[in-house]
Amino acid sequence: MHPCLYTPVTLETMDADIRKEEPESKKFSLLDESKKLSESHFHDPSFVTRYGRLETNRSERYGISYSIIVIHVESFNHGKTVPGKKELLDFLRKLVSTVLKVIRNCDVAGMLEDKRVIALLPHTDYFGSLIVIKKLSKALEFLTIGGEPYASIIFSQATYPKDANGFGELVGTAARRVTERLSSPWEKFDLKGKLFWEIVAALTGASYNLPEYSTFDTGPELELENSFIHAVNETIAREIARAPEKRGILYIGTKRLSGAVPFKKELSSLGKTSTKIFLVGAAGGGGEGQEGLDIRNVTTIHLTDHRIEGVYFTFFMNEDSSYALVARESWGDTHNCFHTSDPYVVEGIITKLQRDYSLQEQL
């Protein structure tokens, strides 16, 4: 893990410090500060709850879904000075105005509880809310407090009716996901601070054996054959074919692009699907040549980077499941593999791939 440049100061420890130094600010919190905001479209927790219940009834009546996004302010990466009330109010003002700029006019934003802002997105499914999170995280990336340090913000989402039966349960799900995200390897091992290839090296270079996160090796004399990697891609293609209407995204890294990719049959037999499929590899592969790559529903991405020729990868996300497999070539026709079903790692690694290669950022 990289050493942090700043000592993280959580709001809790910061509160304790303030208590020591400034007894009058005992009741200080973001929730209190939110009352001083003059934003007319930013609401208090009681309004958000009432609106949430109404939206639940509306969605149930018309058989549609809606989503909520919880923006959790985890800590301030602040080393020198403790932010005072003024700085916090300034931070909150910037945070809220940025959120209001990103969301639509029909969306509702408000304070959920201390350190948590909520955005309620009517008529938005799981993937729609992920896209809003992407926009929010980009807009809030360089949000500063007091000029220099920035805050560590965690986003989570939940969708009605997929994740809950009512608004309270939905908020509970989103809150649980904040905790899950904080304990996810993505945050814990500081993967979010690394580049795509640094992540690949880190994941395939160490040995993990966690419930949603583990490593294994393939090749001759090992527990699994190399063809297992292709079997995984075939299986995912069939999973997509079974529920083609489900939105999803799939990136398959196949070293060199050629018309002779092993899982081509599964990909080409896919009918109309809502999953975006990308085949990634170095240009100029052999086999059937580029003509064979004209696969319906599949977009090919040619990368001019020699590192791509040493790995197979599969990153798959849809509303039900997420899976990432990275297999790095080792010696003697063997591969060091890492795989995970942690949605935060999968989403994060897809974002890194898109950003590092200037691909269209999408989900």
Binding site: R61, F228, A231, E234, R242
Partner: protein
């Protein structure tokens, strides 16, 4: 592909009312499908994509309102209008004003007919019947002539041909045939089959064909070749093996000379999994006539032989899972999964200590009525060492499919298990004497799956030895089972047969008996 039909689905319990609607609609050139319960209606709706669904609110098996919600959420049927019939007015959740109707009995027939006419006349959407360029009956004009005409006019679009039994599509661009498809069958094989259909209807729908050309020959050559194959098949069919006969290899295929034609290699590989001629021909990628000719040649050279087993007939699928059970299973799936495309199947995860046992299990399953081996297993490039994915499909009454799905039982596979868990309805564990050391891994895999999905788990010893009480207890201990949890044996030595039917019967009973979605997890 969205199917465009002229069919109206009548899910009406009162026969007189159903006949009244059928008569009216038939007189106006619309075909009707009748269903007397919700499960049948759902099956027909998914298969046929009707232009209108007329249904009773109180249907047996699946209620009308639930059926509406399921079909409304399915992309293929989401635009189909519903006409609800009921004794009294009732609020229907998700009712779409302007699309759906609610009519209380007794009906004002004239008004009702007027409304139906109006909704079927609307432009756009699935129910629009007037956007076809060309349509007709195969009894009036041969399909080859239709294709020739489209070729001469350099048309682009989809030529759909429907018979009572099947439906197929030919994709044309600039007059050239790019591809043809009947279900999963495509290219020449599908095209030649479609060309052989003499009864049915066709319609040409102009549309952009986005996929690349999958057929290399010109339109004229493809038609000539197709007609030649059809003629030769008719002339030589008395020389070919019958569709319902079984085939067996008489020689060790490993001893056959190298450099055999690809079609021969494929046929010899397929015989292992699809011994019945018709199933083999269906699963081969080569055109039917070529496959039949190859089979006849291999039989003549005594590499293959036809097996006549008049006494041995496959049991009906009802023996394995009675109709009432199959309907209840389907209901259970519907209650569990809200999106329509996934309520028709459930995965039975199969974990074993060795891929050999998985293959042994698949072979035993071939004795089950309604079981089909997965085409990927029959393909030459399938590596049995990596057991992952579909092994086949077991079709039950009402279209419900149970898909045995192999998962690896090695350490560190939990992320993958989680990724494929959608629609899991059961778990089957296989081991033998040689794999005894791997049983703890098998138990770990089982526990991992059961911690995420409450499904019945079946424990099956797939070795060749006879199981005695002491051995069963030993396996129970290794698997962490209770003293009364059953352990099955895949084979019965003294009866000289496999127990696959008994195993599945017990599994289905458990699936019904246990509220496996919210109930506690237990072995069967």
């Amino acid at each position: 592909m969205t199917k465009y039909t002229r069919k109206v689905l009548l899910a009406v319990t009162d026969k007189t009312v159903a006949e009244g609607f059928a008569k009216f609609l038939n007189e106006r050139g619309l075909e009707t499908n009748a269903a007397s319960d919700g499960a049948t209606a759902m099956e027909i709706a998914l298969r046929e994509t009707p232009v209108l669904i007329i249904l009773d609110l109180y249907l047996p098996v699946i209620k009308g309102e639930r059926l509406f919600q399921i079909l409304k959420n399915n992309p293929n049927t989401s635009k189909v209008p519903f006409l609800f019939l009921s004794e009294s007015h009732k609020e229907v959740k998700g009712f779409r004003i302007g699309i759906d109707w609610f009519v209380t009995k007794p009906f004002q027939w004239e008004e009702l007919y007027g409304n139906i006419k109006e909704i079927l006349s609307r432009g756009g959407g699935v129910w629009s019947l007037w956007d076809k360029d060309l349509q007709g009956k195969l009894s009036n004009v041969h399909l080859a002539d239709v294709i020739q005409m489209l070729y001469l006019n350099k048309r682009e679009g989809e030529l759909t041909v429907e018979t009572d039994a099947s439906s197929g599509t030919i994709y044309m661009k600039d007059g050239y045939i790019f591809n043809a498809r009947i279900g999963e069958i495509e290219k020449e094989k599908a095209l030649f089959r479609i060309l052989s259909w003499k009864e049915g209807t066709f319609e040409f729908r102009p549309a952009a064909v986005r996929s690349g050309a999958k057929l290399a020959l010109s339109t004229g050559n493809l038609i000539m070749e197709g007609m030649r194959q059809i003629d030769e098949y008719e002339n030589s069919k008395h020389l070919f093996p019958a569709g319902d006969s079984s085939l067996k290899t008489k020689v060790d295929t490993a001893e056959l000379p190298a450099g055999l034609k690809p079609i021969m290699i494929e046929v010899l590989n397929l015989v292992k999994y699809y011994p019945v001629v018709k199933a083999l021909v269906d699963h081969s990628a080569f055109p039917d006539f070529d496959v039949y000719s190859t089979l006849a040649g291999l039989i003549k050279r005594q590499i293959l032989t036809e097996v006549k087993e008049p006494g041995k007939t496959r049991a009906a699928s009802e023996d394995l899972c009675p109709v009432s059970h199959a309907i209840k299973i389907k209901e259970k799936f519907i209650n569990r999964w809200s999106d329509m495309l996934t309520v028709n199947f459930g995965k039975l995860l199969v974990a074993s200590t060795s891929p050999v046992l998985t293959n042994r299990f698949v072979k035993a399953c071939q004795d089950l009525p309604g079981f089909l081996v997965s085409p990927r297993i029959a393909s030459a490039r399938y590596s049995s060492a990596n057991a992952l994915g579909d092994l086949g499909v077991l079709r039950l009454y009402g279209g419900t499919e149970i898909i045995p799905f192999a998962v690896p039982a090695v350490k560190g596979m939990n992320p993958l298990l989680k990724a494929v868990l959608a629609n899991t309805v059961g778990l089957l564990l296989l081991w033998d004497d040689e794999g005894e050391a791997e049983i703890p891994n098998l138990a770990l895999t089982r526990n991992e799956i059961l911690s995420k999905r409450r499904v019945p788990a079946v424990h099956v010893y797939a070795g060749k030895n006879e199981l005695d009480k002491a051995l069963i207890n030993e396996y129970r201990k290794l698997l962490g089972l209770k003293h009364d949890d059953p352990v099955f044996s895949l084979f019965s030595q003294h009866k000289n047969r496999n127990n696959i039917s008994d195993i599945f019967q017990r599994y289905f009973t458990a699936l019904l008996r246990e509220d496996y979605i919210s109930g506690r997890v237990r072995a069967v």
